[in-house]
């Protein structure tokens, strides 16, 4: 497997008495393959491996660090730089806007986040601002009953902004209001306009992009579109219980400069964890 190939070439680098450029190039080739297999954006992979190779060939290892360990250190450092500085969600009164492409796990993540915040002692209300998807109201309502959070929605609503206006009033005594929105992609002009409108009206403290770990090369471009429209403050990476490495999400994060705060690890509401960048990178590399 690719993970084995990379692990073996890293072993070779670690055990080499001294580092030579051919060995470095070989490791970098394996890193490149592993990252492509993990769905990291192609251009980013090429830039990244060029940088890793150049640093490995020109930098002196830190005191006490073998040249093999140095290459591994550079690799982890470069990938962490793409991920950016981590940040956890603040436990304070706030409004959170959940957004993203169709089927990524937004609605489910609203409930997961609600449960998390409630466990931390905050009261939570969820607003069903998805007026497009059939039974979106039912879905979020059923989830709110499962987690015992407050809920506002309107099955006869003619506009999302209308639901949001009333939702903010109805749930004003909640510490946190989580707003679920409809799925949309970068080419949905009208829907992007709707999202922009909702954002301008609500002025949420957090604008969280929900990304499916299986997303491939489109991740970066799609994330950029959301970022240009509302400005992303955080990311939730879903479906990490599958086999996908989440490289697309890494590219999206690098693109919008927002940290991954949580990962979804299953369909159940409790399948929700704080993001751990070291574990993510190890898994990314196989």
């Amino acid at each position: 497997s690719l993970g084995n190939a990379l692990r073996n070439s890293i072993k070779r680098v670690m055990n080499a008495p001294h580092i030579d450029s051919n060995l470095i190039r070989e490791v970098c080739k394996d890193i490149q393959r592993a990252l492509l297999q993990a769905d990291v954006n192609v251009k980013q992979v090429l830039d990244l491996t060029k940088r890793i190779e150049k640093r490995a060939l020109t930098e002196k290892p830190a005191a006490g660090m073998g040249s093999g360990e140095h290459v591994v250190h550079i690799m982890y450092e470069e990938l962490s730089n793409l991920l950016g500085k981590g940040r956890s969600i603040e436990l304070k009164k706030q409004k959170i806007l959940m957004l993203g492409i169709y089927g990524q796990g937004k609605t489910t993540s609203c409930a997961k986040l609600a449960r998390y915040l409630q466990k931390k002692g905050l009261s939570v209300g969820m607003v069903a601002a998805d007026i497009h998807r059939p039974a979106a109201y039912d879905q979020l309502k059923q989830l709110s009953e499962k987690v015992n959070s407050k809920f506002y929605g309107d099955i006869h609503a003619k506009s999302a902004i209308d639901v949001v206006d009333r939702g903010l009033k109805e749930l004003s005594d909640c510490d946190v209001i989580i707003i679920d929105t409809a799925g949309r992609h970068k080419l949905d002009e009208e829907l992007m306009k709707e999202l922009k409108e909702i954002n301008d009206r609500v002025k949420p403290e957090e604008r969280i992009l929900v990304i499916d770990a299986t997303t491939g090369q489109q991740a970066k471009e799609q994330a950029r579109a959301f970022h240009e429209n509302v400005g992303i403050t955080g990311v939730i990476l879903t479906k990490m219980d599958g086999s996908a490495k989440g490289g697309g999400a890494l590219s999206a994060v690098a693109e919008v400069g927002a940290p991954i705060m949580f990962i979804g690890t299953g369909e159940k509401i409790e399948d929700f964890e704080l993001f751990d960048s070291e574990r993510f990178i190890s898994r990314l590399l196989g």
Binding site: R33, L36, Q37, A38, D39, V42, I101, Y102, G103, Q104, G105, T107, T108, H132, R133, P134, A135, A136, D138, Q139, L140, Q142, L143, K146, H185, K186, L187, D212, A213, T214, T215, G216, Q217, Q218, A219, E221, Q222, K239, D241, G242, S243, A244, G247, G248, E267
Partner: protein, 267 residues
């Protein structure tokens, strides 16, 4: 992209980039590169031919399949969470109804919040009856009832919607085996997200290994996704891609066309 009419060496690199950026995956891309390296002719044309061959080698006409199959024909829709199964089943039902077939939906997702309401909404809109049980009930029994209903009413097609599941979840794959066995589905359709990268092949592979899939529908292609995973799936699993999901509307189901797909891949 400048692949055509450019010096050969540079073109191979451009080709590689185009395929990788389209989610074709490194393995499938390497095989295409190797196949092309052997030839002397103009590279752009060869590449197009190679990819088109991969995609058309195993083709299937869904409409023809339904037309000639014993009724009720039983269609099982499977795939991971959120790939677009429920929306796709509605589109296929809509297509069949327009082609004069009587259909019934089996709401075998008895787990996810709002799943039954979602399929019932589609059923009402299109005019297709939905057989459903309570949440938490056995999905296989819903399939059984939907098929029994179709047979009793002498209907043409039963379309079974199932809960999304990760191919890595052993229990859910066991559950799916049971649903397939109880339904003895005539056609198992893998619904894959067109935005997925390398994982799409892994998903299709595992579903095929566990329950057997007959064909593939890739969704959300309207998002600008190239859907290159279709190539990896066609190449490795030899399964036909029958439709592409091109939007949320009931009529947004495009019959797969290899020529169209390849042209779009490289533009």
């Amino acid at each position: 992209r400048g692949i055509f009419g450019k010096p050969r060496e540079e073109s191979i690199e451009a080709l590689e980039m185009a395929l990788l950026e389209a989610d074709v995956g490194i393995d499938a891309t390497e095989r295409i590169k190797n196949a092309v390296a052997m030839q002397k002719k103009e590279i752009g044309a060869i590449i197009r031919e190679e990819v088109k061959n991969i995609l058309s080698e195993n083709s299937m006409d869904f409409d023809e399949f339904v037309k000639t199959h014993e009724k009720p024909v039983k269609l099982l829709f499977v795939g991971i969470n959120g790939s677009g199964k429920t929306t796709t089943i509605a589109k296929v039902g809509y297509r069949l109804k327009n082609n004069g077939y009587s259909c019934v939906f089996g709401s075998c997702d008895t787990f996810r919040a709002g799943a039954v309401e979602q399929l019932k909404y589609h059923g009402e809109k299109i005019g297709i009856e939905v057989i459903a049980h309570d949440y938490g009930s056995d999905p296989a029994s819903v399939a059984f009832d939907a098929i029994a209903h179709a047979k009793a009413k002498r209907m043409d097609a039963v379309l079974l919607d199932t809960a999304g599941r990760m191919q890595t979840n052993k229990n859910l794959m066991e559950e799916m085996k049971k649903i397939k066995r109880v339904s003895s589905a005539d056609l198992t359709i893998f619904v894959g997200d067109g935005l997925a990268g390398n994982d799409a092949l892994l998903e299709a592979k595992e579903f095929d290994a566990n329950i057997g899939i007959d064909c593939v529908i890739l969704t959300k292609i309207d998002s600008d996704a190239k859907g290159g995973s279709a190539i990896a799936i066609a190449q490795e699993l030899k399964k036909p891609i029958i439709f592409l999901g091109m939007g949320e509307g009931y009529d947004r189901l495009m019959k797969f066309d290899a020529e169209w797909f390849v042209k779009r891949l490289f533009e």
